[in-house]
């Protein structure tokens, strides 16, 4: 692989330490004949904001609940802080959980909710009071201690759940779909608040989500799961730009996928032939695959550039395409205007449809292209990901 194909720099995460605070060792969970989690091996480092990402039923929640102690693995071992927690019941584990429904006790005041865990630990009254206030301040609910939960909004109830878990100073905070019940605006706000909260308290956060945007936006590292298996564990940028399989490429973000045959595989370039494109795909890096084997070329819509194609003009030459080395002809069939960007659906000569995004850089950009207009599509030789599975 050349320089362009190497992973981009991860975002600075000085609070992430080297030691693994969570370790799943050969974890399998079966419900009767259904395998919910299939031989998962995973390490999560101290201080990470880790996301378990996947479609519903992929086993991500089961994995989280194993950490909390609500599920026991059928096979394998779970370590928290180096200790095998197989025998530990939920109330003896150094982790706390924020439930999807928040599970704020409806019959207790906010302050009593937050104090609950400390009372269970036998912390003395004065300290409970101080720490409860501190925790409510932390989640910006100072002064709400005397309210009953049904006097709070959904977002505020979630903050109570957060404060109630954080006040116990757990080694790891578990979050089950933390933002799914909030409306869009509030969700955006809570995303950044969760990140800054995590940086402030320095506790390892592990979040389960089915929303890839959420995972990419918040997490320092993600594990993508599919049918109980770990599909890929990587930083958000690596997941998006360097997916390791069709499943990950398709699940994380939007993608154009072409099935082809590896025609040439050299140290510094590779060529994939595909029925769906009129020209072979040129890649500026080698691929580790046998010549003649089936591969998939995954191309993100925003990485495709679109140019006008006057009727009857000769095919665009490589050097004429500013974006690089791959050029195919097509006709615009559908346009979806989203304000900040526009989605174009282009029909290629093979009949295959391809999507591309175009940012509306000026207020008149959206008028540049229209329905049934012939266009050239071009992309860099380094843009597509080549997938072997």
């Amino acid at each position: 692989m050349t320089d362009l194909a190497t992973a981009p720099a991860a975002k600075p995460t000085p609070h992430v330490k080297e030691n693994a605070i969570i370790r799943f060792e050969n974890i399998t969970k079966r419900y009767g004949k259904v395998v919910a989690v299939d031989n998962v091996n995973l390490e999560i480092r101290e201080g990470e904001f880790f996301a378990l990402l996947g479609p519903s039923g992929c086993g991500k929640t089961t994995l989280l609940r194993m950490l909390a102690g609500f599920e026991t693995p059928t096979e394998g071992r779970v370590f928290i802080d180096g200790k095998d927690v197989a025998e530990l019941p939920p109330n003896k584990r150094p982790v706390n959980m924020v439930f999807q429904s928040y599970a704020v006790f409806p019959h207790m005041k906010v302050a009593d909710n937050v104090a609950y865990g400390l009372k269970m630990d036998g912390v003395d009254g004065g300290e409970i009071k101080r720490r409860v206030e501190e925790a409510l301040e932390l989640v910006k609910l100072g002064g709400y201690g005397d309210r009953m939960p049904d006097q709070l909004s959904g977002g505020q109830r979630q903050r109570v759940a957060l404060a109630r878990a954080l006040v116990k100073r757990p080694r790891v905070l578990l979050l089950d779909e933390p933002l799914s019940a909030l409306d869009a605006k509030l969700r955006d706000q809570m995303r950044s608040e969760l990140t800054s909260l995590q940086e402030k308290v320095g506790i390892t956060f592990i979040m389960v989500t089915h929303d890839q945007d959420e995972a990419l936006a918040i997490a320092t590292r993600c594990a993508v799961m599919n049918r109980g298996l770990l599909a890929q564990v990587a930083t958000p940028a690596d997941l998006y730009e360097f997916p390791n399989s069709r499943f990950v490429a398709d699940f994380v973000g939007s993608v154009n996928m072409f099935e082809g045959v590896l025609d040439k595989d050299e140290q510094d370039h590779a060529i994939v032939r595909t029925q769906e494109l009129s020209a072979p795909v040129y890649l500026d890096h080698g691929v580790t695959g046998a010549k003649g084997s089936t591969v998939w070329v995954a191309l993100r819509p925003e990485k495709i550039e679109m140019h006008k194609r006057p009727e009857g003009s000769s095919p665009m030459k490589m050097e004429d395409a500013p974006a690089g080395t791959n050029v195919v002809a097509g006709v615009i069939r559908d346009i979806v205007y989203l304000g900040s960007e526009t989605i174009f659906e282009i029909e290629l000569e093979s009949g295959r449809r391809v999507r591309t995004f175009r940012s509306n850089l000026t207020r008149y950009d959206q008028e540049d292209f229209t329905w049934d207009e012939p266009v050239w599509l071009a992309w860099h030789a380094c843009s597509p990901a080549v997938l072997l599975s």
Partner: protein, 300 residues
């Protein structure tokens, strides 16, 4: 929807009228007659004069009858308490059983309902009497212990004296608990089954054990279910007639037995009517108390 339905007066009347007439004729009118009797006097074997006297109520408030009222309240109260203590774990277990098991367990709880009360009570007699299965069971162990003693060279225990389990207050309470348990289990079950499981998980997660989770989270949240379970167990238990009649001794009669005697053997309908109404007022009091308790946490 609701409003348009109410506006259709004709349809509303057609549907509401038959049950209203039924209730009026066969419930309210007889109740009114009994209420009137309670202010009357016996003047002949079957003639009652409605004189407007309070003598029946005065007599009903004599220590003898007040004592029986008090005793009925205590017996019904103990029955309710035992039903709650036995019923709560049962309801909890059913609520947490797998869906398949749940159906079977609920069926088991409801099964006695399909059997006549008289038959169930006689069945209980067969279990509790001196030649009953409880005594048989104990006797079997007794004999076993006796021969074991002989085996190791000690003197045998002697003949087994059967325990007297019937015709006393304990038998009445055992019978009442048996009869009323489903009334307690079902409302408790429905309250527990509806409860958000993640609340209990949250409690465990925050460091509480199972016992503290039940006491601090489950019981308070199930309070409305507990209150209605207590009420619908207490009220029929207070007015029980058959169970104390068949299982009780001479000193374990409850107020309903006294009332029955007034209407039948004693042929004193006015006095029986007065006792009946006092029992009804007592029941209203229990319902009012329950409503008050339920209103307190009723913020939602």
């Amino acid at each position: 929807m609701e409003q348009t339905w109410r506006q259709a007066r004709g349809a509303f009347a057609a549907i509401a009228a038959p049950p209203l007439v039924w209730l009026l004729l066969f419930f309210l009118v007889p109740l009114g007659v009994i209420w009137a009797y309670s202010f009357g006097e016996n003047v002949g074997p079957i003639t009652i004069d409605l004189t407007g006297t309070f003598a029946n109520y005065m007599r009903a408030l004599e220590p003898l009858y007040l004592g029986i009222f008090g005793k009925s309240v205590i017996v019904a109260g103990v029955t309710t308490l035992l039903c709650l203590l036995v019923g709560f774990p049962v309801a909890l277990a059913i609520a947490f059983a797998s869906p398949r098991m749940k159906a079977w367990l609920l069926l088991l709880i409801m099964l006695p309902f399909w059997t006549n009360l008289l038959i169930r009570t006689f069945a209980l007699i067969a279990v509790l009497r001196e030649q009953g299965y409880v005594n048989f069971g104990i006797e079997w162990f007794w004999n076993l212990a006796s021969s074991a003693r002989e085996l190791v060279g000690m003197a045998p225990l002697g003949d087994y004296e059967p325990l007297t389990l019937l015709y006393n207050n304990a038998a009445v309470i055992v019978g009442l608990v048996y009869v009323h348990l489903p009334f307690m289990v079902l409302p408790l079950y429905s309250a527990l089954d509806r409860m958000d499981r993640s609340l209990m998980e949250a409690s465990l997660d925050l460091g509480a054990g199972h016992l503290r989770t039940i006491l601090l989270v489950v019981v308070p949240l199930a309070a409305p279910g507990i209150a209605s379970g207590v009420l619908i167990t207490f009220i029929p238990a207070l007015g029980s007639y058959l169970t104390p009649d068949l299982l009780g001794g001479t000193d374990s009669q409850m107020i309903a037995n006294v009332i029955e005697r007034q209407f039948k053997k004693a042929n004193d309908w006015p006095f029986g009517a007065a006792l009946s109404f006092l029992l009804m007022y007592l029941t209203f009091f229990a319902i009012a108390a329950q409503a008050l308790i339920q209103r307190k946490p009723g913020r939602r």
